[in-house]
Amino acid sequence: MREIRIALTGNPNVGKTTLFNALTGSRQHVGNWPGVTVEKKTGRVSHNGYEIEVVDLPGTYSLTAYSADEVVARDYILEERPDVVVQVVDATNLERNLYLTTQVAELGVPMVIALNMADMAEAQGDTIDLARLSEFLEIPVVRTVGTRGEGLDTLLEAAIKEAATSPHHEHTIGYGDDVEATIAMLADALSTDIDLARRYPLRWLAVKLLEGDENVLDKVRGGPALARVESILSSIDSDEYEAMMADKRYEAISAILPQVRKANVRNMSPSDMLDRVVTDRYLGIPIFLALMWGTFQLTFTVAAPFMTMIEAAVGWLAEFVAGSIEPAWLASFLGDGIIGGVGAVVVFLPNIFILFLILAFLEDSGYLARAAFIMDRPLYALGLPGKAFIPMLVGFGCNVPAIMATRSIEGEKDRLLTILVNPFMSCSARLPVYILLAGTFFPEQAGSVVFFLYVLGIAVAIASAKLFRSTILPGEVSPFVMEMPPYRIPTAITSLRHMWSRGSMYIRKAGSIILIGVLVVWALASFPLGVEYGSAESFAGMIGHLLEPLVAPLGFDWKVAVALIFGFIAKEIVVGSLGVLYGTGEETLSSALLADPGLSAAAALALMVFVLLYTPCVAAIGVIRQETGSWKWAGFSVAYGLVVAWLLAFVVGHSAGLFLGGI
């Protein structure tokens, strides 16, 4: 069986990942690109005697090194040399998508175009002549509908055929006499660098140098061509050249499109009409907040019966272990430690999955892109770029990928600012704490309490951004450019797949870091030998009592102090630790918390605020260190979070205490 490698490239939101999933099914592997934290997805598919490896490259609008995603995508194509590059093109937006085509084609690699979302273009009344488009571009074009798996076989056959065809020639855009003369001079200079010339197409290098691409200039540095290249570049205005070259690319696209596409022109599509409401100057943000409220209402309430079932199962298991296992320490280890601790966390799986399902639905429908648009104005006014909203939304799931997602933000200060405020976005790991405490102390308004916490997190993030922008990170905010994808009715399969992809991470955490965390808490609560489990004389009690003075003003006792310490490893462990320290699983933890005279409703509210804002978890700190390249910023994030959490928990707790009868 022959093997070939296909790289999938394309703009964001063109259905690239859907096509990747449809092609590779369950034969996928997710990791990171070497040296960077951009996600790398690979999968395999067999077709007509070929074993095909499919690599899903990050979505990019161009191949100029504006962001890490773009560098990863083009470096893979140039340095790993896949047998074929398949560019996924959104058939409803050919102009923008073909801009990337002109750049990929310049790399001189075998290429196939998957004209995706063809059904939507047809539903709009557009007709695209695939044969003529292929003829003009000199690239095979295949009609696909990723959501329904249409055109996949034809696409694979075209890719196999293209991989076997040789030689390939570079597809070039004519940039006009002046630019072409400079390209020729640069290419000539670059040809003196044998190593560079062997690895990269010289014309492409020259084009990128004219566009002021620092990443390419770095490749030239240290080589024999540098002096001549710098001399040529010093004689031109690279901004002007970049603009002229972009114009020429769009000119070429404009020349082709009328000959291959008949677009249905209407006054205003239903999608445009809907945008008038959801992006309305006055109603846009309230509608977004209302939808978020609905999301958390469903997350809290619909999960309740499922939680009850899991609670019952965990309770039965704990009882079974306690009653049938000897010696007593082993029963305690299994019952109080593993089942009590991990069970207290696992019980929140339904909430996590429902939240991710709703977020996937909103994202797949195209609404979240509108949410980013409407949030741009307030974010910009407060010193954050509009693009920061996407990492902030991703932060609702997990801050680790959210911090990685800041790589799409061009300005270094904008990016650092977004990284520093991201931990205030309430990740799903904090949800179990809210659900436990809100459900216990505020059963009638639990959904609204959780919503309040999410809004508080956003408010603190924005206020912190304003503070940082006016003090430690001064400067102008980058302008926001983002395309609005058309609205779609999400398919159940796609949304469920997204839900599983994000939610399964929580299950893996429960079986690894959370398990280890609760076992450490169990050991600290059980030793030294002979002390009562979880008592003040245990190691956990000693640590808790040592820290109690720091958290006593917030209404927390030593047990909460210990739980917060272990929440530093992963926020879910706060609940697991409380389950262990109160000697219960989640089933009776609510009752135990209510019965504890040391924890009032106001203190519970303060605890939720503290958990929302205090130090990021270990994984998030590691990623902050990696993305900022500095322990200084990671340390700053921890210290700032702790101070803000303490102050706000104090204010909220004591304010609530005025209405709820004291903290």
Partner: protein, 144 residues
């Protein structure tokens, strides 16, 4: 349905949602109001906020239709979708709470009377609009 009918419908639903939302928030702030005991107001200020938002969308639609802004009652159509959507959220939430309380023995404080929630019964009027023309709007959206 004519634009005039949509205008009247939007204005009526807008007023109902705005009043219900305002009362909800009022009850949340000052506690039970004498004379309004018969109304099932939960006192959840955020549910009140959501009703105000839906009401504002309907009201904006009615105003635009009155001014003949030439936008095919888009705000009223979105109001209908929001009304039905939040009605479904409320229905799912109440059903799940009922299932949890009666079949599984979990939860607390659930009663049949709780089903008479403003977000739920106002959604019945929203559903009427959905059946009259909202479905067509949604189909047009998914085909776009």
């Amino acid at each position: 349905m004519s634009d005039t009918a949509k205008l009247v419908y939007g204005a009526a639903l807008g007023a109902l949602y705005l009043v219900a939302g305002a009362l909800h928030i009022l009850v949340a702030v000052v506690g039970p109001i004498p004379g309004l005991d018969a109304l099932p107001l939960t006192g959840d200020p955020l549910a009140g906020f959501v009703m105000l938002v839906v009401g504002a969308v309907f009201a904006a639609g009615a105003r635009n239709l009155a001014r003949d802004a030439g936008e095919d009652a888009i705000f009223v159509s979105v109001g209908v979708l929001l009304s039905v959507g939040f009605g479904l959220v409320e229905l799912l939430a109440l059903s799940a709470a009922g299932l949890d309380a009666y079949l599984l023995g979990g939860g607390a404080g659930w009663s049949v009377a709780g089903l008479v929630s403003p977000l739920l019964y106002l959604a019945v009027f929203g559903a009427a609009g959905y059946l009259a023309w909202g479905r067509k709007f949604l189909r047009g959206l998914s085909a776009a």
